[in-house]
Symmetry: C2
Subunit: 193 residues, 2 copies
Amino acid sequence: MFPEFATYIKAQANLSDHDIELIHSKAIEKKLRRKEFLLHQGEVCRYKIFISKGLIRTYATREQGSEHILRFSAENSWTTDPESFEFDTPSSLNIDAIEHSELVLWTKDDLRYLITNIPGLKTYFDKLMTSSGSLFRQRILSNISSTAEEKYEDFVKNYPEISARAPLHMVASYLGVTRKTLTRIRHAQVKGK
Amino acid sequence: MFPEFATYIKAQANLSDHDIELIHSKAIEKKLRRKEFLLHQGEVCRYKIFISKGLIRTYATREQGSEHILRFSAENSWTTDPESFEFDTPSSLNIDAIEHSELVLWTKDDLRYLITNIPGLKTYFDKLMTSSGSLFRQRILSNISSTAEEKYEDFVKNYPEISARAPLHMVASYLGVTRKTLTRIRHAQVKGK
DNA sequence: GTAGAAACGAGACAAATGTCCTCGCATCCG
DNA sequence: CGGATGCGAGGACATTTGTCTCGTTTCTAC
């Protein structure tokens, strides 16, 4: 788990072996089985989570129990509830595993310590934040301007891995449409060819 | 224009008079008449823009000329195209004025200089980024999980000022529905009472 | 390997939303 | 002051999307 992270972060940031050791010393490794939860809504999200293997979903639920996926996180990506993590408030989100997954976690205090003491890590997280902002804007634009079919096509194009691995009803939940709509779209595309 | 900004920023960040002067020395003031553009798609967005008075929209257009509003910015808020601003790439967004507006602008280089030399300003922008991320997540969640009526209600609740000042078809464009849908919702609400 | 659960597709119908059009009113500007 | 324009409303109809439900297939855990 940590070795995969080390490989990834070395490629993304300029870090010395000593830096890596320091980061390692604060890391918590964790395995999650399918459907196992890392965070239930109502709990405080105490960790920033790196996914070294597997597939994780971060989602909200509404009154009637419907689930709405805010983010999929596969290998070499991150998740957390930023608000709960930052302000120690109860989270409104759930995080669980779609596949058996392997994670590396850091607490807020440890992460803050690492970031202030490792400039290369700070640079990396700044980049990460910039690009996540950009993805947010793209997603909003797609949401307000595209048809369901375009949204689905964009999703498949941007996340071919995830669209192949996540069940269809979860993709629907991510896109904000029903399972039915998505099957219709797929059917139409097959016929269209 | 700058005085309004100074009042605002003093309330938001811990800055000395000297800091304010320094920020002032880099600021560019600009007035924009209704429908006047600050940025056309294809241009590079060279400024981070503070709105001291008026109402600004930031939007994308699609093939058929439809407009999709990414953000409204009224007094005491900011806008820019973050990607174009950051990387000097041609913007895909347009920025224009819904009302006669007064703005204060800074270039990227000047802003970077100010942020590195004024810690209080850095703290302020970090906070701003955090809260804008949080708003993005809320908006995405609303987009994928709410009915058009709920989206409209949320918008009115969260931005009563803007919903009163922006024309209905622009609110529709922000929410990702047609003007028609919005008038229907309003009509239904009136009847419902 | 097998039992149970999960995922998928689809039919029938209902509801929501979009498209295209016209109208009327207010406002703005020459 | 008068014509042009922007804006909101709404009728008529088409299209999209959702709901509910069922049966089949596929996957998974033991």
